[in-house]
Protein backbone atom coordinates (compact mmCIF):
# COMPACT_ATOMS: atom_id res chain seq x y z
CA UNK A 1 0.00 0.00 0.00
CA UNK A 2 1.46 3.36 -0.91
CA UNK A 3 0.48 6.49 0.99
CA UNK A 4 -2.64 7.91 -0.55
CA UNK A 5 -2.68 11.59 -1.25
CA UNK A 6 -5.93 12.44 0.44
CA UNK A 7 -7.82 15.43 -0.83
CA UNK A 8 -7.09 17.65 2.12
CA UNK A 9 -10.55 18.61 3.18
CA UNK A 10 -11.09 19.44 6.81
CA UNK A 11 -13.85 17.35 8.29
CA UNK A 12 -16.66 19.62 9.40
CA UNK A 13 -16.19 20.29 13.10
CA UNK A 14 -19.07 19.12 15.31
CA UNK A 15 -21.84 21.53 14.37
CA UNK A 16 -22.52 24.17 17.00
CA UNK A 17 -26.24 24.82 17.01
CA UNK A 18 -27.47 28.37 16.57
CA UNK A 19 -28.80 28.19 20.09
CA UNK A 20 -25.46 27.25 21.60
CA UNK A 21 -23.75 30.04 19.64
CA UNK A 22 -26.33 32.48 20.94
CA UNK A 23 -25.85 31.22 24.48
CA UNK A 24 -22.11 31.52 24.16
CA UNK A 25 -22.25 35.04 22.79
CA UNK A 26 -24.66 36.00 25.54
CA UNK A 27 -22.35 34.57 28.20
CA UNK A 28 -19.38 36.39 26.75
CA UNK A 29 -21.32 39.64 26.63
CA UNK A 30 -22.41 39.10 30.20
CA UNK A 31 -18.84 38.52 31.33
CA UNK A 32 -17.66 41.71 29.66
CA UNK A 33 -20.56 43.65 31.13
CA UNK A 34 -19.75 42.35 34.60
CA UNK A 35 -16.12 43.33 34.21
CA UNK A 36 -17.04 46.83 33.07
CA UNK A 37 -19.55 47.24 35.86
CA UNK A 38 -17.01 46.02 38.41
CA UNK A 39 -14.44 48.44 36.96
CA UNK A 40 -16.64 51.44 37.65
CA UNK A 41 -17.98 50.09 40.92
CA UNK A 42 -14.42 49.69 42.17
CA UNK A 43 -13.56 53.20 41.02
CA UNK A 44 -10.56 51.83 39.15
CA UNK A 45 -8.15 54.57 38.14
CA UNK A 46 -4.75 53.22 37.21
CA UNK A 47 -3.54 56.67 36.15
CA UNK A 48 -3.75 57.85 39.71
CA UNK A 49 -1.60 54.97 40.82
CA UNK A 50 1.17 56.11 38.53
CA UNK A 51 0.71 59.77 39.28
CA UNK A 52 1.09 59.41 43.01
CA UNK A 53 3.44 56.48 43.07
CA UNK A 54 5.95 58.57 44.97
CA UNK A 55 3.65 58.51 47.99
CA UNK A 56 3.78 54.75 47.96
CA UNK A 57 7.52 54.73 48.05
CA UNK A 58 7.48 57.26 50.84
CA UNK A 59 5.12 55.23 52.98
CA UNK A 60 6.75 51.96 52.05
CA UNK A 61 10.12 53.25 53.10
CA UNK A 62 8.95 53.49 56.70
CA UNK A 63 8.66 49.74 56.82
CA UNK A 64 12.21 49.30 55.61
CA UNK A 65 13.83 50.43 58.83
CA UNK A 66 12.85 47.43 60.93
CA UNK A 67 13.20 47.98 64.65
CA UNK A 68 14.01 44.71 66.37
CA UNK A 69 14.27 45.95 69.96
CA UNK A 70 11.20 43.93 70.95
CA UNK A 71 12.26 40.85 69.01
CA UNK A 72 11.85 38.48 71.93
CA UNK A 73 8.25 39.48 72.26
CA UNK A 74 7.67 39.05 68.55
CA UNK A 75 9.26 35.65 68.61
CA UNK A 76 7.07 34.66 71.51
CA UNK A 77 4.06 35.86 69.54
CA UNK A 78 5.21 33.86 66.54
CA UNK A 79 5.52 30.71 68.64
CA UNK A 80 2.05 31.22 70.11
CA UNK A 81 0.62 31.59 66.65
CA UNK A 82 2.51 28.56 65.40
CA UNK A 83 1.15 26.42 68.21
CA UNK A 84 -2.41 27.43 67.46
CA UNK A 85 -1.96 27.04 63.71
CA UNK A 86 -0.41 23.58 64.10
CA UNK A 87 -3.40 22.15 65.87
CA UNK A 88 -5.95 24.14 63.94
CA UNK A 89 -4.51 22.87 60.67
CA UNK A 90 -3.86 19.33 61.82
CA UNK A 91 -7.44 18.87 63.00
CA UNK A 92 -8.73 20.45 59.80
CA UNK A 93 -6.72 18.01 57.69
CA UNK A 94 -7.83 14.99 59.71
CA UNK A 95 -11.48 15.95 59.40
CA UNK A 96 -11.13 17.55 55.99
CA UNK A 97 -9.90 14.44 54.17
CA UNK A 98 -13.06 12.39 54.61
CA UNK A 99 -15.18 15.40 53.72
CA UNK A 100 -12.99 16.06 50.68
CA UNK A 101 -13.58 12.52 49.47
CA UNK A 102 -17.31 12.86 50.04
CA UNK A 103 -17.17 16.11 48.00
CA UNK A 104 -15.48 14.54 44.99
CA UNK A 105 -17.82 13.76 42.15
CA UNK A 106 -15.55 10.97 40.92
CA UNK A 107 -15.70 9.19 44.27
CA UNK A 108 -19.09 9.84 45.81
CA UNK A 109 -22.50 9.95 44.13
CA UNK A 110 -24.18 13.31 43.50
CA UNK A 111 -26.67 12.91 46.32
CA UNK A 112 -23.75 12.87 48.73
CA UNK A 113 -21.40 15.37 47.10
CA UNK A 114 -24.04 18.05 46.77
CA UNK A 115 -25.04 18.38 50.43
CA UNK A 116 -21.51 17.85 51.69
CA UNK A 117 -20.15 20.53 49.37
CA UNK A 118 -22.83 22.95 50.57
CA UNK A 119 -21.87 22.15 54.14
CA UNK A 120 -18.24 22.87 53.39
CA UNK A 121 -19.27 26.06 51.60
CA UNK A 122 -21.00 27.12 54.78
CA UNK A 123 -17.92 26.37 56.91
CA UNK A 124 -15.91 28.69 54.69
CA UNK A 125 -18.59 31.29 54.23
CA UNK A 126 -19.48 31.69 57.87
CA UNK A 127 -17.02 34.16 59.24
CA UNK A 128 -14.36 32.78 61.55
CA UNK A 129 -15.45 35.36 64.12
CA UNK A 130 -18.80 33.62 64.48
CA UNK A 131 -17.13 30.30 65.13
CA UNK A 132 -14.70 31.96 67.50
CA UNK A 133 -17.56 33.47 69.51
CA UNK A 134 -19.38 30.17 69.61
CA UNK A 135 -16.32 28.40 70.91
CA UNK A 136 -15.62 31.14 73.43
CA UNK A 137 -19.05 30.40 74.86
CA UNK A 138 -17.96 26.82 75.42
CA UNK A 139 -14.30 27.00 76.33
CA UNK A 140 -13.76 30.64 77.28
CA UNK A 141 -11.15 33.03 75.99
CA UNK A 142 -7.75 31.73 75.07
CA UNK A 143 -5.85 29.92 72.36
CA UNK A 144 -8.03 26.80 72.48
CA UNK A 145 -11.02 28.74 71.19
CA UNK A 146 -8.72 30.02 68.45
CA UNK A 147 -7.64 26.51 67.52
CA UNK A 148 -11.26 25.42 67.26
CA UNK A 149 -12.32 28.40 65.15
CA UNK A 150 -9.38 27.96 62.78
CA UNK A 151 -10.04 24.25 62.63
CA UNK A 152 -13.66 24.61 61.56
CA UNK A 153 -12.98 27.29 58.97
CA UNK A 154 -9.92 25.52 57.60
CA UNK A 155 -11.84 22.26 57.31
CA UNK A 156 -14.12 23.93 54.76
CA UNK A 157 -11.17 25.13 52.75
CA UNK A 158 -9.19 21.89 52.94
CA UNK A 159 -12.23 19.89 51.89
CA UNK A 160 -12.68 22.08 48.83
CA UNK A 161 -9.03 22.19 47.74
CA UNK A 162 -8.41 18.52 48.43
CA UNK A 163 -11.53 17.41 46.59
CA UNK A 164 -10.67 19.45 43.51
CA UNK A 165 -7.31 17.73 43.41
CA UNK A 166 -9.07 14.38 43.67
CA UNK A 167 -11.38 15.29 40.82
CA UNK A 168 -8.41 15.99 38.56
CA UNK A 169 -6.69 12.60 38.96
CA UNK A 170 -5.94 10.07 36.28
CA UNK A 171 -8.45 7.24 36.46
CA UNK A 172 -6.25 4.52 35.03
CA UNK A 173 -4.45 3.60 38.25
CA UNK A 174 -7.73 3.69 40.20
CA UNK A 175 -9.23 1.21 37.75
CA UNK A 176 -6.10 -0.86 38.09
CA UNK A 177 -6.77 -1.15 41.81
CA UNK A 178 -10.50 -1.60 41.37
CA UNK A 179 -9.88 -4.47 38.98
CA UNK A 180 -8.33 -6.51 41.78
CA UNK A 181 -11.61 -6.44 43.70
CA UNK A 182 -10.36 -3.90 46.20
CA UNK A 183 -12.84 -2.03 48.37
CA UNK A 184 -13.71 1.59 47.74
CA UNK A 185 -11.49 2.64 50.64
CA UNK A 186 -8.61 0.60 49.24
CA UNK A 187 -9.10 2.21 45.84
CA UNK A 188 -8.68 5.56 47.56
CA UNK A 189 -5.69 4.53 49.63
CA UNK A 190 -3.78 2.95 46.75
CA UNK A 191 -5.19 4.66 43.67
CA UNK A 192 -6.15 8.17 44.68
CA UNK A 193 -3.92 9.24 47.55
CA UNK A 194 -0.57 8.49 45.84
CA UNK A 195 -1.69 10.70 42.98
CA UNK A 196 -2.88 13.67 45.02
CA UNK A 197 -0.37 13.55 47.85
CA UNK A 198 2.00 16.21 46.48
CA UNK A 199 -0.87 18.62 45.99
CA UNK A 200 -2.41 17.84 49.36
CA UNK A 201 0.87 18.50 51.11
CA UNK A 202 1.18 21.81 49.29
CA UNK A 203 -2.35 22.84 50.25
CA UNK A 204 -1.87 21.84 53.87
CA UNK A 205 1.27 23.89 54.24
CA UNK A 206 -0.38 26.80 52.46
CA UNK A 207 -3.29 26.74 54.88
CA UNK A 208 -0.94 26.30 57.80
CA UNK A 209 0.90 29.37 56.66
CA UNK A 210 -2.39 31.29 56.29
CA UNK A 211 -3.39 30.25 59.77
CA UNK A 212 -0.08 31.44 61.13
CA UNK A 213 -0.79 34.80 59.53
CA UNK A 214 -4.42 34.90 60.60
CA UNK A 215 -4.90 37.52 63.27
CA UNK A 216 -8.59 38.32 63.35
CA UNK A 217 -9.65 35.23 65.23
CA UNK A 218 -6.82 35.41 67.68
CA UNK A 219 -7.55 39.05 68.31
CA UNK A 220 -11.05 38.07 69.28
CA UNK A 221 -10.23 35.18 71.55
CA UNK A 222 -7.42 37.02 73.29
CA UNK A 223 -5.10 34.27 72.26
CA UNK A 224 -2.24 36.58 71.52
CA UNK A 225 0.12 35.92 68.69
CA UNK A 226 2.12 37.78 66.14
CA UNK A 227 -0.84 38.90 64.06
CA UNK A 228 -2.32 40.80 66.97
CA UNK A 229 0.98 42.39 67.80
CA UNK A 230 1.31 43.41 64.19
CA UNK A 231 -2.13 45.02 64.13
CA UNK A 232 -1.24 46.96 67.23
CA UNK A 233 1.98 48.31 65.81
CA UNK A 234 0.06 49.34 62.72
CA UNK A 235 -2.61 51.10 64.73
CA UNK A 236 -0.06 53.06 66.63
CA UNK A 237 1.88 53.91 63.46
CA UNK A 238 4.98 52.11 64.67
CA UNK A 239 5.91 51.13 61.17
CA UNK A 240 9.47 50.34 62.15
CA UNK A 241 8.23 47.70 64.56
CA UNK A 242 5.67 46.52 62.05
CA UNK A 243 8.52 46.15 59.57
CA UNK A 244 10.42 44.01 62.06
CA UNK A 245 7.40 41.76 62.55
CA UNK A 246 6.97 41.47 58.81
CA UNK A 247 10.56 40.34 58.50
CA UNK A 248 9.86 37.56 61.00
CA UNK A 249 6.65 36.56 59.24
CA UNK A 250 8.30 36.59 55.83
CA UNK A 251 11.10 34.37 57.12
CA UNK A 252 8.60 31.97 58.69
CA UNK A 253 6.47 31.81 55.57
CA UNK A 254 9.53 31.27 53.39
CA UNK A 255 10.73 28.53 55.72
CA UNK A 256 7.33 26.83 55.50
CA UNK A 257 7.34 27.17 51.73
CA UNK A 258 10.78 25.62 51.47
CA UNK A 259 9.70 22.84 53.81
CA UNK A 260 6.62 22.30 51.67
CA UNK A 261 8.75 22.00 48.56
CA UNK A 262 11.11 19.53 50.15
CA UNK A 263 8.33 17.32 51.41
CA UNK A 264 6.47 17.45 48.13
CA UNK A 265 9.62 16.68 46.18
CA UNK A 266 9.65 13.29 47.89
CA UNK A 267 6.22 12.50 46.48
CA UNK A 268 6.29 13.99 42.99
Amino acid sequence: MSTTNVTAVLPPPPVASVLSILVRTALLGLAVAVLVWAWYASEMDPAQLVRDSRNMAELGRDFFKPDFTEWEFYLKGMLETLAIAIWGTLLAVVFGIPFALLCSTNIAPAWITFPVRRMMDALRAINELVFALIFIAAVGLGPFAGVLALFVHTTGIIAKLFSEAVEAIDHGPVEGIRGTGATKLQEIVYGVIPQVLPLWIGFTLYRFESNVRSATVLGLVGGGGIGMTFNETMRSFQYEQAGAILVIVVITVSALDILSQRIRAKFI
Binding site: I136, L141, S236
Partner: protein
Protein backbone atom coordinates in the same frame (compact mmCIF):
# COMPACT_ATOMS: atom_id res chain seq x y z
CA UNK B 1 -20.28 28.69 92.63
CA UNK B 2 -16.68 28.06 93.44
CA UNK B 3 -14.24 30.47 91.87
CA UNK B 4 -10.93 28.74 91.23
CA UNK B 5 -9.50 31.34 88.90
CA UNK B 6 -10.38 34.90 88.01
CA UNK B 7 -10.48 35.46 84.26
CA UNK B 8 -9.66 39.06 83.53
CA UNK B 9 -10.52 40.27 80.02
CA UNK B 10 -8.60 43.26 78.79
CA UNK B 11 -9.43 45.05 75.56
CA UNK B 12 -6.07 45.79 74.14
CA UNK B 13 -6.22 48.94 72.07
CA UNK B 14 -2.52 49.56 72.07
CA UNK B 15 0.59 47.44 72.12
CA UNK B 16 -0.35 44.31 73.99
CA UNK B 17 3.34 43.70 74.51
CA UNK B 18 3.65 46.75 76.66
CA UNK B 19 0.11 46.38 77.96
CA UNK B 20 0.49 42.85 79.25
CA UNK B 21 3.81 43.67 80.83
CA UNK B 22 2.37 46.79 82.46
CA UNK B 23 -0.56 44.92 83.95
CA UNK B 24 1.55 42.20 85.49
CA UNK B 25 2.41 43.79 88.85
CA UNK B 26 -1.10 44.98 89.53
CA UNK B 27 -2.57 41.60 88.63
CA UNK B 28 -0.09 39.97 91.01
CA UNK B 29 -1.32 42.19 93.79
CA UNK B 30 -4.92 41.40 92.85
CA UNK B 31 -4.12 37.72 92.98
CA UNK B 32 -2.75 38.11 96.48
CA UNK B 33 -5.78 40.08 97.59
CA UNK B 34 -8.39 37.71 96.19
CA UNK B 35 -6.54 34.50 96.96
CA UNK B 36 -7.10 32.79 93.60
CA UNK B 37 -4.98 32.93 90.46
CA UNK B 38 -5.80 35.72 88.02
CA UNK B 39 -5.55 34.96 84.34
CA UNK B 40 -5.48 37.91 81.96
CA UNK B 41 -6.63 37.72 78.32
CA UNK B 42 -5.66 40.54 76.01
CA UNK B 43 -8.23 40.65 73.23
CA UNK B 44 -8.43 43.14 70.41
CA UNK B 45 -12.11 42.68 69.88
CA UNK B 46 -14.50 43.18 72.73
CA UNK B 47 -17.16 40.87 71.31
CA UNK B 48 -15.26 37.84 72.56
CA UNK B 49 -14.79 39.24 76.05
CA UNK B 50 -18.45 40.22 76.30
CA UNK B 51 -19.73 36.86 75.09
CA UNK B 52 -17.22 35.21 77.40
CA UNK B 53 -18.68 37.17 80.30
CA UNK B 54 -22.20 36.20 79.22
CA UNK B 55 -21.27 32.53 79.50
CA UNK B 56 -19.34 33.02 82.74
CA UNK B 57 -15.99 32.46 81.08
CA UNK B 58 -14.82 35.98 81.94
CA UNK B 59 -15.26 37.31 85.46
CA UNK B 60 -13.76 40.73 85.24
CA UNK B 61 -13.01 43.03 82.36
CA UNK B 62 -11.66 46.40 81.43
CA UNK B 63 -13.85 47.87 78.71
CA UNK B 64 -14.42 51.09 76.86
CA UNK B 65 -17.66 52.86 77.68
CA UNK B 66 -19.64 51.53 74.77
CA UNK B 67 -18.52 47.95 75.24
CA UNK B 68 -19.16 48.26 78.97
CA UNK B 69 -22.71 49.19 78.09
CA UNK B 70 -23.03 46.04 76.01
CA UNK B 71 -21.53 43.99 78.81
CA UNK B 72 -24.04 45.42 81.25
CA UNK B 73 -26.98 44.94 78.90
CA UNK B 74 -26.32 41.51 77.47
CA UNK B 75 -23.67 39.80 79.55
CA UNK B 76 -24.77 40.41 83.12
CA UNK B 77 -21.92 42.81 83.80
CA UNK B 78 -21.81 45.65 86.24
CA UNK B 79 -19.53 48.68 86.35
CA UNK B 80 -17.84 48.89 89.73
CA UNK B 81 -14.83 51.17 89.38
CA UNK B 82 -13.51 53.69 86.90
CA UNK B 83 -9.93 54.27 85.86
CA UNK B 84 -8.36 57.70 86.05
CA UNK B 85 -5.51 59.32 84.19
CA UNK B 86 -2.11 59.90 85.72
CA UNK B 87 -3.05 63.53 86.14
CA UNK B 88 -6.22 62.51 87.93
CA UNK B 89 -8.56 63.43 85.06
CA UNK B 90 -11.53 61.18 84.54
CA UNK B 91 -11.71 61.12 80.77
CA UNK B 92 -10.66 62.26 77.33
CA UNK B 93 -11.99 64.25 74.37
CA UNK B 94 -13.20 63.60 70.89
CA UNK B 95 -11.73 65.81 68.13
CA UNK B 96 -12.28 66.97 64.58
CA UNK B 97 -9.07 67.34 62.60
CA UNK B 98 -8.15 69.13 59.39
CA UNK B 99 -4.93 69.57 57.51
CA UNK B 100 -3.01 72.69 58.52
CA UNK B 101 -2.88 73.78 54.91
CA UNK B 102 -6.65 74.18 54.88
CA UNK B 103 -6.96 77.80 55.94
CA UNK B 104 -10.61 77.72 54.93
CA UNK B 105 -11.52 75.22 57.63
CA UNK B 106 -11.07 76.57 61.13
CA UNK B 107 -14.14 75.81 63.21
CA UNK B 108 -17.10 73.47 63.32
CA UNK B 109 -19.38 75.64 61.23
CA UNK B 110 -16.87 75.57 58.37
CA UNK B 111 -17.33 71.87 57.98
CA UNK B 112 -21.08 71.94 58.41
CA UNK B 113 -21.48 73.76 55.12
CA UNK B 114 -22.89 71.11 52.86
CA UNK B 115 -22.33 73.11 49.70
CA UNK B 116 -18.57 72.68 49.87
CA UNK B 117 -18.60 69.03 48.82
CA UNK B 118 -16.15 68.02 51.51
CA UNK B 119 -14.70 64.58 52.06
CA UNK B 120 -15.24 63.37 55.59
CA UNK B 121 -13.29 60.67 57.37
CA UNK B 122 -15.58 59.22 59.99
CA UNK B 123 -14.67 56.78 62.72
CA UNK B 124 -15.80 53.24 62.99
CA UNK B 125 -19.52 53.00 63.82
CA UNK B 126 -18.72 51.61 67.24
CA UNK B 127 -16.01 54.01 68.24
CA UNK B 128 -17.22 56.31 70.97
CA UNK B 129 -14.91 59.20 70.27
CA UNK B 130 -14.46 58.53 66.58
CA UNK B 131 -18.12 58.30 65.69
CA UNK B 132 -20.67 58.46 68.46
CA UNK B 133 -19.67 61.71 70.15
CA UNK B 134 -19.24 63.74 66.96
CA UNK B 135 -22.42 62.23 65.52
CA UNK B 136 -24.36 63.66 68.39
CA UNK B 137 -22.52 66.81 69.37
CA UNK B 138 -21.56 67.91 65.89
CA UNK B 139 -24.13 66.48 63.51
CA UNK B 140 -27.33 65.62 65.40
CA UNK B 141 -27.35 68.86 67.34
CA UNK B 142 -26.79 70.86 64.18
CA UNK B 143 -29.30 68.83 62.21
CA UNK B 144 -26.79 67.70 59.63
CA UNK B 145 -26.78 64.23 58.12
CA UNK B 146 -23.22 63.47 57.08
CA UNK B 147 -24.21 60.99 54.39
CA UNK B 148 -26.24 63.67 52.59
CA UNK B 149 -23.98 66.56 53.35
CA UNK B 150 -20.58 65.41 52.20
CA UNK B 151 -19.26 64.34 48.87
CA UNK B 152 -17.84 61.20 50.39
CA UNK B 153 -17.83 59.68 53.87
CA UNK B 154 -15.04 57.22 54.37
CA UNK B 155 -14.90 55.11 57.47
CA UNK B 156 -11.62 54.18 59.08
CA UNK B 157 -10.03 53.79 62.47
CA UNK B 158 -8.43 56.69 64.33
CA UNK B 159 -5.04 56.15 62.80
CA UNK B 160 -6.35 55.79 59.30
CA UNK B 161 -8.28 59.01 59.69
CA UNK B 162 -5.36 60.95 61.09
CA UNK B 163 -3.15 59.79 58.28
CA UNK B 164 -5.81 60.56 55.71
CA UNK B 165 -5.98 64.12 57.00
CA UNK B 166 -2.20 64.45 57.00
CA UNK B 167 -1.98 63.12 53.46
CA UNK B 168 -4.90 65.26 52.32
CA UNK B 169 -7.00 62.28 51.35
CA UNK B 170 -9.97 63.66 53.30
CA UNK B 171 -10.80 67.24 54.20
CA UNK B 172 -11.60 66.55 57.83
CA UNK B 173 -11.89 63.57 60.10
CA UNK B 174 -12.73 62.53 63.63
CA UNK B 175 -10.22 61.48 66.23
CA UNK B 176 -9.52 61.68 69.94
CA UNK B 177 -6.90 63.15 72.24
CA UNK B 178 -5.39 59.80 73.11
CA UNK B 179 -4.79 58.75 69.55
CA UNK B 180 -3.30 62.18 68.78
CA UNK B 181 -0.88 61.85 71.68
CA UNK B 182 0.30 58.56 70.24
CA UNK B 183 0.63 60.06 66.78
CA UNK B 184 2.66 62.98 68.14
CA UNK B 185 5.12 60.51 69.60
CA UNK B 186 5.37 58.02 66.79
CA UNK B 187 4.96 60.19 63.69
CA UNK B 188 5.71 63.79 64.57
CA UNK B 189 5.93 64.76 60.90
CA UNK B 190 2.36 63.75 60.22
CA UNK B 191 1.22 65.15 63.55
CA UNK B 192 2.66 68.51 62.56
CA UNK B 193 0.48 68.65 59.46
CA UNK B 194 -2.74 68.37 61.45
CA UNK B 195 -4.80 70.94 63.33
CA UNK B 196 -7.74 70.54 65.68
CA UNK B 197 -10.95 72.47 64.96
CA UNK B 198 -13.30 71.06 67.55
CA UNK B 199 -13.10 69.32 70.95
CA UNK B 200 -15.98 67.46 72.58
CA UNK B 201 -17.11 67.53 76.18
CA UNK B 202 -15.24 65.12 78.46
CA UNK B 203 -15.84 61.46 77.71
CA UNK B 204 -15.64 59.45 80.91
CA UNK B 205 -12.60 57.25 81.26
CA UNK B 206 -12.88 53.47 80.98
CA UNK B 207 -14.71 51.44 83.61
CA UNK B 208 -13.92 48.03 85.10
CA UNK B 209 -16.85 45.65 84.90
CA UNK B 210 -17.45 42.44 86.78
CA UNK B 211 -19.91 39.67 86.40
CA UNK B 212 -22.91 40.58 88.61
CA UNK B 213 -23.37 36.99 89.71
CA UNK B 214 -19.87 36.55 91.11
CA UNK B 215 -20.02 35.31 94.71
CA UNK B 216 -20.37 38.29 96.99
CA UNK B 217 -17.28 37.49 99.04
CA UNK B 218 -15.21 37.50 95.87
CA UNK B 219 -16.85 40.71 94.77
CA UNK B 220 -16.08 42.29 98.12
CA UNK B 221 -12.44 41.32 97.89
CA UNK B 222 -12.15 42.65 94.37
CA UNK B 223 -13.94 45.86 95.20
CA UNK B 224 -11.87 46.65 98.21
CA UNK B 225 -8.69 45.79 96.35
CA UNK B 226 -9.31 48.23 93.51
CA UNK B 227 -10.57 51.07 95.66
CA UNK B 228 -7.83 50.63 98.19
CA UNK B 229 -5.07 50.25 95.62
CA UNK B 230 -2.82 53.28 95.84
CA UNK B 231 -4.85 54.70 98.69
CA UNK B 232 -4.84 52.39 101.73
CA UNK B 233 -1.98 50.84 103.62
CA UNK B 234 1.39 52.03 104.81
CA UNK B 235 2.87 55.01 102.95
CA UNK B 236 5.34 52.63 101.32
CA UNK B 237 2.57 50.38 100.10
CA UNK B 238 0.60 53.34 98.81
CA UNK B 239 3.49 54.88 96.93
CA UNK B 240 4.47 51.49 95.52
CA UNK B 241 0.93 50.91 94.27
CA UNK B 242 0.83 54.42 92.80
CA UNK B 243 4.09 53.74 90.97
CA UNK B 244 2.60 50.55 89.61
CA UNK B 245 -0.56 52.33 88.49
CA UNK B 246 1.48 55.01 86.80
CA UNK B 247 3.06 52.39 84.60
CA UNK B 248 -0.12 50.37 84.06
CA UNK B 249 -1.66 50.79 80.60
CA UNK B 250 -0.94 54.33 79.43
CA UNK B 251 -0.53 55.58 82.98
CA UNK B 252 -3.27 55.51 85.56
CA UNK B 253 -4.10 57.18 88.85
CA UNK B 254 -5.94 55.33 91.63
CA UNK B 255 -9.33 53.90 90.69
CA UNK B 256 -12.47 55.74 91.71
CA UNK B 257 -15.77 54.18 92.64
CA UNK B 258 -18.29 53.96 89.87
CA UNK B 259 -21.47 52.21 88.87
CA UNK B 260 -23.63 51.59 85.84
CA UNK B 261 -24.60 55.21 86.17
CA UNK B 262 -21.29 56.11 84.55
CA UNK B 263 -22.81 54.92 81.31
CA UNK B 264 -25.85 57.22 81.34
CA UNK B 265 -24.30 59.89 79.07
CA UNK B 266 -23.16 57.18 76.69
CA UNK B 267 -26.61 55.69 76.62
CA UNK B 268 -27.97 59.13 75.89
CA UNK B 269 -25.66 59.44 72.95
CA UNK B 270 -26.74 56.05 71.67
CA UNK B 271 -30.39 56.93 71.95
CA UNK B 272 -29.88 60.20 70.16
CA UNK B 273 -28.16 58.32 67.46
CA UNK B 274 -30.92 55.83 66.92
CA UNK B 275 -33.42 58.66 66.92
CA UNK B 276 -31.45 60.29 64.15
CA UNK B 277 -31.42 57.05 62.25
CA UNK B 278 -35.16 56.67 62.50
CA UNK B 279 -35.68 60.21 61.31
CA UNK B 280 -33.53 59.59 58.28
CA UNK B 281 -35.00 56.23 57.46
CA UNK B 282 -36.90 56.69 54.23
CA UNK B 283 -38.53 53.32 54.50
CA UNK B 284 -40.52 54.28 57.58
CA UNK B 285 -43.84 56.03 57.29
CA UNK B 286 -44.42 59.30 59.13
CA UNK B 287 -46.54 57.52 61.71
CA UNK B 288 -43.97 54.86 62.41
CA UNK B 289 -41.34 57.53 62.72
CA UNK B 290 -43.42 59.44 65.20
CA UNK B 291 -44.16 56.46 67.39
CA UNK B 292 -40.58 55.27 67.37
CA UNK B 293 -39.18 58.70 68.11
CA UNK B 294 -41.65 59.05 70.92
CA UNK B 295 -40.46 55.78 72.35
CA UNK B 296 -36.88 56.97 72.30
CA UNK B 297 -37.79 60.30 73.75
CA UNK B 298 -39.44 58.45 76.58
CA UNK B 299 -36.29 56.49 77.25
CA UNK B 300 -34.26 59.67 77.12
CA UNK B 301 -36.54 61.24 79.66
CA UNK B 302 -36.20 58.20 81.91
CA UNK B 303 -32.45 58.48 81.59
CA UNK B 304 -32.45 62.16 82.53
CA UNK B 305 -34.53 61.31 85.57
CA UNK B 306 -32.14 58.58 86.53
CA UNK B 307 -29.20 60.89 86.07
CA UNK B 308 -30.80 63.24 88.56
CA UNK B 309 -31.84 60.65 91.11
CA UNK B 310 -28.76 58.39 90.98
CA UNK B 311 -25.90 60.33 89.48
CA UNK B 312 -22.48 58.79 89.18
CA UNK B 313 -20.25 60.40 91.77
Amino acid sequence: EDIKQLNFGIISTESSAALSKSFEPMLKDLEKAVGVPVKAYFAQDYAGVIEGMRFKKVDLAWYGNKSAMEAVDRAGGEVFVQTTKKDGSKGYYSLLLVNKSRTDLNEVKDVLDCSKGLNFGNGDANSTSGNLVPSYYVFAINNVNPSNCYKNVAVSNHEGNALAVAMGQVDFATNNTESMDRLAQSRPDDFAKIKEIWRSPLIPSDPLVWRKDLPSDVKAKIHSFFLGYGRLGTPEEVSRAREILKTTSDGWGPFVASSDAQLYPIRQLELFKSKLKIQNDEKLSADEKKSKTAEIDGKLADLSKLMETTPNM
